[in-house]
C-alpha cells in the first residue's frame, strides 16, 4: 500500500516528551521490580543513598554521551537513520557489521532476560504454571506487532499510558505509605563501604540501561535535547525508586524485603484502598509492570531488528537507510515470524485452558491448625454457596472439613481432591492456631514458609490462637455469618486499637524473617456457643511468651503504640477515657555498677483526659482526679512492663526494633544479641494527662 503522505505527524520521529516518558517507564519497570530486593541484600537501609548515587552517576554520563553523539548526527533536525549503505571502505563496513552483530547479540540476550522476567511476573501474579508457553508466544507476537508499527507508534503508546500508569502507582504508594514505620529506616550507614559501593554499582548498571537512548537518537526529532531528556528520565525514575524503597523498608524491613520475589507487587497486595472496593489490588497493579517491562522488551526487539538491517540490508533498506524495522524486506520478515507465532499461539491456546468458574472454587474464610501428634490437622471453614439466592453469600452457614496431612501443601491438595473444587485462599480472613502449634517454633516456621510460598495466600489474614483449635471447626456454630468473617470482625470492630494492632500473617512472617519483633495474638475460647477473645498471647521473635489478660491488654497496646484511646475504671470507681495519645521515647545508655552500659528506655506518654460525669465536678476535683489518674496509670504501666520482662521474658515495648534510631552505640553493642539487650533493659514510663475543660 502506498505510504500516506506526511501532513502533521513527524513520521519515524520521536518527540522529546515521548522519549522522556518511554525511557522513564523502561527504567522504572525493571528497576522497581528488581532493585529493592538487591538493595535490601547489599545496602539495607542505605539503599536510598546507593540508588541516588548510582542514578546521579548514570545520569551525568548518559547526558554527556548523548550530547556528544547528538553533535555527530547529520542534519540534526529531521535526519533519518544514518545510511549504512554509504559505508565507504571495506574496513569501515566490517567495523559497522561487527558492531551491529555484537549489539544484536546483546539486545537478544537482554530481550531474552526481559521476556523471562515478564513471563515470570505474569505467571506468578496472574496465571498458573501451565500457561508459560502461551505467555511466551503471545508476548513475542505482541512484540512483533509492536515493532512492525514502528518507533513512533511505540513512543505514542507510552506517551498515552504514562499517566494511566503513574497516577495509580502514586495513589497506591500514598496509601501504602500510611503503614510505614519510619523506625525501620534506621540505622543508616550500617552496611559497610564494600556493600554500599556494590549496591551503587548495581544501581548504576540499572540506570545505564538508558544507553538505549543512544539507539533512539537518530529517530529523535530534536537530538540535541535528548541528553537532557534522558537525564530527566533517570532523575524521576530514581526519585520514584527511592520513594518506593523507603515505603518497602518501612513496611517489610530489609530481612523480609530480600526474601520477597517481587517486593513492589507484594506491597500492592498489602495496601488497602479505603472503602473496601477491592479486596486486593496486586493483580490490577501488575499492569504497571506488564506495560513498563514490555516497553523495555519491545525496545530490545526493535533495536535488535535494526541491527539485522545493518548486517543484512535489503535493497530498499539500503536506499532508505532504515535498518531492519522499516522497508518491505523488514515487513516481510516480521510478517513471516508473526504468522508462525500466531499458529503456535493458537495451538497452545487450544490445550492451555485451566480456568475455574467461581462456583467451582471453595473460598476458605477460616483456616484452623489444631494440635496433631504427627504432621498437621488442617481445618477449613468455607461458606456454603449452593443456594440460588445470591443474597446469601457471606451470611450462609459454613461447611467444615478437617484433613490430616504431612504438610499444609498436602492438606490443600487433599481438600481439593476430596471436594472436587479448587481452594481459593485469596479471601482467607482468619487463621486459628492451636496453642501447642504456636509453642513449637519449628512448626510455626514450616507454617509460615507455606504462607510465603503460596502466592494466593492473603497476608492480611488475622491470626488467632486457641487451646483446642479443633473445637470451632467441628460444626457450624450458627454465628449468622461465616466463621472467618465473624472472627475478622471480632478484632476489626475494636475502635480503641489501631489497625496495626491486629496481628496478621504478615506480622508473623516479619518475625520469621528477622527473628525479632513482638505481636499480641488474640486467644479465643468459646462462650455461650460463640468464640470470644479472652486473652492475648505475646509472641515475640518466633517464641510464645505467655499471655496477657484481655483486661490488661490495653496496657500492652499503649506501650506498643497501638492504642487509639484507652478507657478504664480507676480504683476509686471513676470511669475515664484517655485519648489523643502521643508517645515519645528515647533509649540511652546508663552506667551500671559493673562499669557496663545498660540501656534505659524512657517513654513519655501524653494524653487528654475525659472524665465521665465531669460536669458535676468542680475544677479543683477534676485537677485532683487528673493527678490521681496520672499516678495510677503510670504505676500500672511500669508494673506491667516490669512483669512482662521478668515473668514472660519479653520486651513489651518492642524497643529493640527501634534501637538503631535512638542510640547507635547501643545498637552496635546488641545488634546480634537481642536477648542480652532484653535482660539489661530498664524501662522508665512517664505518664502525663491533660485535662480537657468541659
Amino acid at each position: 500500500m502506498e505510504r500516506e503522505r506526511t501532513l502533521f505527524s513527524n513520521n519515524r520521529k520521536v518527540s522529546i516528551r515521548q522519549m522522556k516518558r518511554l525511557l522513564f517507564l523502561e527504567l522504572f519497570g525493571i528497576s522497581s521490580l528488581i532493585l529493592p530486593g538487591l538493595m535490601a541484600r547489599f545496602c539495607q537501609t542505605d539503599g536510598i543513598f546507593a540508588i541516588a548515587l548510582g542514578a546521579a552517576a548514570a545520569g551525568g554520563l548518559i547526558k554527556w554521551l548523548l550530547d556528544q553523539a547528538a553533535g555527530r548526527i547529520p542534519g540534526a533536525e529531521g535526519a533519518d537513520e544514518p545510511s549504512n549503505g554509504k559505508a565507504g571502505s571495506y574496513g569501515r563496513r566490517f567495523w559497522i557489521k561487527s558492531r551491529a552483530l555484537l549489539l544484536l547479540a546483546l539486545f537478544c540476550l537482554a530481550g531474552g532476560f526481559l521476556l523471562f522476567l515478564l513471563t515470570a511476573v505474569i505467571e506468578n501474579q496472574l496465571l498458573d504454571a501451565g500457561f508459560i508457553w502461551i505467555i511466551l508466544v503471545t508476548l513475542l507476537a505482541a512484540g512483533g506487532y509492536g515493532i512492525a508499527r514502528g518507533i513512533e507508534c511505540r513512543a505514542r503508546i507510552y506517551e498515552i499510558l504514562f499517566w494511566f500508569l503513574v497516577i495509580p502507582l502514586l495513589i497506591m504508594l500514598a496509601i501504602a505509605a500510611i503503614d510505614v514505620d519510619p523506625d525501620y529506616w534506621l540505622p543508616v550507614f550500617a552496611c559497610g563501604w564494600k556493600n554500599f559501593f556494590l549496591g551503587t554499582a548495581i544501581c548504576f548498571g540499572f540506570f545505564m540501561l538508558s544507553l538505549l537512548s543512544l539507539c533512539m537518537l537518530p529517530f529523535c526529532a530534536k537530538p540535541k535535547e535528548a541528553g537532557r531528556a534522558a537525564a530527566s528520565a533517570i532523575r524521576w525514575t530514581a526519585v520514584l525508586d527511592i520513594g518506593l524503597y523507603l515505603i518497602l523498608l518501612g513496611i517489610f524491613q530489609p530481612e523480609l524485603l530480600m526474601s520477597l520475589k517481587y517486593p513492589a507487587i507484594s506491597l500492592m497486595a498489602m495496601a488497602q484502598i479505603p472503602g473496601g472496593l477491592f479486596e486486593r489490588q496486586d493483580a490490577l497493579m501488575t499492569a504497571i509492570w506488564f506495560f513498563s517491562l514490555f516497553a523495555l522488551f519491545n525496545s530490545f526487539i526493535f533495536y535488535g531488528v535494526l541491527q539485522t538491517g545493518r548486517i543484512w540490508p535489503g535493497k530498499k533498506e539500503k536506499k532508505e537507510g532504515q535498518g531492519g524495522a522499516g522497508g518491505k524486506t523488514g515487513k516481510i520478515r516480521i510478517g513471516i515470524v508473526l504468522f508462525l507465532i500466531l499458529l503456535a499461539a493458537v495451538a497452545c491456546l487450544l490445550n492451555g485452558c485451566g480456568l475455574k468458574e467461581p462456583e467451582q472454587r471453595l473460598y476458605p474464610l477460616a483456616l484452623g491448625v489444631p494440635q496433631a501428634e504427627e504432621g498437621y490437622d488442617i481445618s477449613y471453614a468455607w461458606p456454603v454457596t449452593s443456594g440460588n439466592d445470591s443474597s446469601t453469600g457471606a451470611a450462609s452457614p459454613d461447611a467444615m472439613e478437617t484433613f490430616k496431612a504431612r504438610s499444609l501443601f498436602e492438606g490443600e491438595q487433599e481438600a481439593s481432591e476430596n471436594t472436587d473444587r479448587v481452594l481459593d485462599f485469596n479471601h482467607l480472613k482468619a487463621l486459628v492456631l492451636d496453642t501447642s502449634v504456636l509453642a513449637k517454633t519449628g512448626k510455626m516456621e514450616e507454617l509460615l514458609a507455606y504462607f510465603i510460598e503460596n502466592e494466593n495466600m492473603a497476608w492480611n489474614t488475622c491470626v488467632f490462637v486457641m487451646d483446642d483449635a479443633s473445637g470451632i471447626f467441628e460444626k457450624d456454630m450458627g454465628l449468622g455469618k461465616s466463621l472467618g468473617i465473624y472472627l475478622e470482625e471480632l478484632v476489626q470492630s475494636r475502635d480503641d486499637r489501631k489497625e496495626k494492632a491486629i496481628t496478621t500473617i504478615k506480622d508473623l512472617i516479619d518475625q520469621y524473617a528477622q527473628q525479632q519483633g513482638t505481636a499480641l495474638i488474640p486467644q479465643l475460647s468459646v462462650k455461650d456457643g460463640k468464640p470470644v477473645i479472652t486473652a492475648y498471647r505475646v509472641y515475640s521473635a518466633m517464641h510464645d511468651h505467655g499471655t496477657v489478660s484481655a483486661k490488661d491488654a490495653w496496657m500492652a497496646d499503649l506501650l506498643m503504640g497501638n492504642a487509639r484511646y484507652v478507657s478504664l475504671t480507676l480504683e476509686d470507681g471513676t470511669y475515664i477515657t484517655v485519648n489523643h495519645i502521643r508517645i515519645e521515647r528515647s533509649i540511652a545508655p546508663a552506667q551500671d555498677g559493673n562499669n557496663g552500659r545498660t540501656p534505659v528506655e524512657t517513654m513519655e506518654i501524653r494524653g487528654n483526659l475525659e472524665i465521665s460525669g465531669s460536669t458535676v465536678m468542680s475544677a479543683k476535683d477534676r485537677q485532683k482526679l487528673r493527678g490521681y489518674a496520672q499516678e495510677q496509670i503510670q504505676t500500672m504501666l511500669n508494673d506491667f512492663c516490669a512483669k512482662q520482662r521478668e515473668q514472660n521474658k519479653v520486651d513489651i515495648t518492642d524497643s529493640f526494633q527501634k534501637l538503631a534510631g535512638y542510640d547507635r552505640t547501643l545498637w552496635e553493642l546488641y545488634r546480634n544479641n537481642p536477648e542480652a539487650y532484653g535482660k539489661k533493659l530498664h524501662t522508665d514510663i512517664r505518664f502525663s494527662l491533660k485535662l480537657l475543660t468541659a
Binding site: 496472574l126 508476548l139 505482541a142 511505540r154 503508546i157 506495560f291 467461581p358 454457596t385 481459593d424
Partner: protein, 508 residues
Amino acid sequence: MTEKNTKGQHPVVKDIRINIRNYQELFSDCSDIKMRQMLLGKEMKVRCMIAYIETSVGNMMLEKSALGQTLNRLCEIPSESVLACVEENSMGISDAAPMDTIEEAGDGMLSGDAILFVDGYNKALKIPDKGYPGKMVSDTESEKVIRGSNEGFTESVKMNTALIRKRIRSPKVKVKEKKVGVRSKTNVDLVYIEDLADPDLLKNIEDRLERFEIDGILDSGMVEQLTESSWYSPFPQFQTTLRPDRAAMSILEGRIVLLADNSPAALILPTDYNSFIQTSDDYYNRWEIASFTRLLRYAASFLAMVLPGLYLAVTNFHTQILPTSLLLSFASARQGVPFPGIVEILLMELAFELLREAGVRLPGAMGNTIGIVGGLIIGQAAVDANIVSAMVVIVVAFTALCSFAIPNEEFATAFRLLKFAFIFLCAFLGFYGFLLGLLLVLIHLSHLESFGIPYMTPFVSPGQGSKGERDSLIRPPAWVLNRRPVYASPGERVRLRRKDRNQKESES
C-alpha cells in the same frame, strides 16, 4: 444525428428538430423522462421543448417556480422577442445555465433540473426547479442534544451545503464539487474555509477521490471506505455526523467536510479519538457539566470494550480483587447455571446484538416492543431458567449502556466488535489476556492516523506543538478555548481574542 464534437458529444444546434431527435435518442426507453413540446410567444410561433424527470419539476402553470415563471413570461412576449430574451437571459432567472451539448443538457436534467430547448437558439437552458424528491429538513434521528439545534442534514447535497452556509456566512467558505461514480454521477462536495483548512489536506482528499473509479456511489459511507488508508481497522478514520452544526464547528476548526448527494451523513476529516467522544452540546453547555459528561463518555468507551472480559477475568482467575461478600454472591448466583462463564456472556451478548439488530430493522413502534421483549422477558426468563446468572445480565446490560453513551455510532461499533475479542482473551488468559488485548489495541490506535493526524491526538505529540489541544478529557471554559486544534493552518490557530482586555491595555 449531428456530428460529434471533439469530446465525442453532440452540440446543441439552432434547428430544434435535430436537438429534439438527439435528445429523444439519448433518453430512449426512459418513460420517467418527460419531453413536452410547446409554442412560445404571443403569436405562438416559436417552437420549444422542455425536458425533465417526472416529479423533479412541479406543475409549471400552477406553481410559482422559476420554470413556471419563465414559461409564462415567454408566452406573453412577442414571438420575435423570444429568442433575444432567451439569449440575453433577461427573464431574471438567476441560475439558468446554458448548455452547449446534448449530453451536458442530459446530465443537467439528471441532476434534477429542467432543460429548455428553443428553436433558433444553439444552447440548451438548464432551469432549476424543485429537484428530486427528498426529505425536507427535520430533526436528527441520532446525535441528539438537549441544548442547541437538532436540525439534521437532508439527503440533498445542495440543501446540506446551504445548511452549513446558514451557520457560517463567510465568503471564505468554499464548496468544491466533484462527480463520483461513472454511472451514478453522484455529487460529492468538499466544504472548507479557505484560509483555515490545510491545502495539503485538501489536495490529499481530492487525490484520494481520484484514486478509484466505481460505477455508483449511493452513500457517503461508500466514499469513506474507498478513501480511508487503514481499511482493516475497526476504527473509523472519518467522523460522520448528521448535524449541520457539528459540521460547521469542524469547518471552523480547519477541517474539511465531505458531503455526498443522497446521504444525510457528512464526513469530517481528519479526525481522532477525542473528536468522536465530543458532542455538539459540549460547547453549548457550561464547562463543568460538559467536562463531567465527556469523562463519562471516555469511561463508557473503555468499559463498552472491556467490561464483559474483565468480569470473566476477575471471576475465573483473580477472585482476590473482589470484596469477599461480592465474590460469594457471584458464586451463589452461578449455582445451577449449566454453562461456563464465557458461554453465558456470549449468549447474552449475542442475544443483545440480535435485539439491537431487530430493533433497528423493525418500524418505530415495534422497535420499542422488542426492547421490552428483550429486556424484561428474555433477560428475566433466562435468569429464572438458570440459563444465565443475574450478574451476567447486569454486566451485559451495563456494557450496552456504555456503548449507547458513545456519541458516534460508527465509533461505538469498533468497541462492540473488540468487546468479543476481549471476552475470548480474558476467558482464556484472565487479566493477562486483558492487558495483552489492551496493549494490542493501543499499538493499533497509536499507529492509526487520519489524514496524517495521529488517531490518539491530543494525547500524543501531534508534531506541531500542542497549545491548541486543551479540549480533550476536560472541556475547558470557553475563554480558554482560544486556539484551534492542530488541524487548522499553522498561521490561523487563534480563534478567540478578548476585546475588552486589548481595550484596557490600550487605555492604560
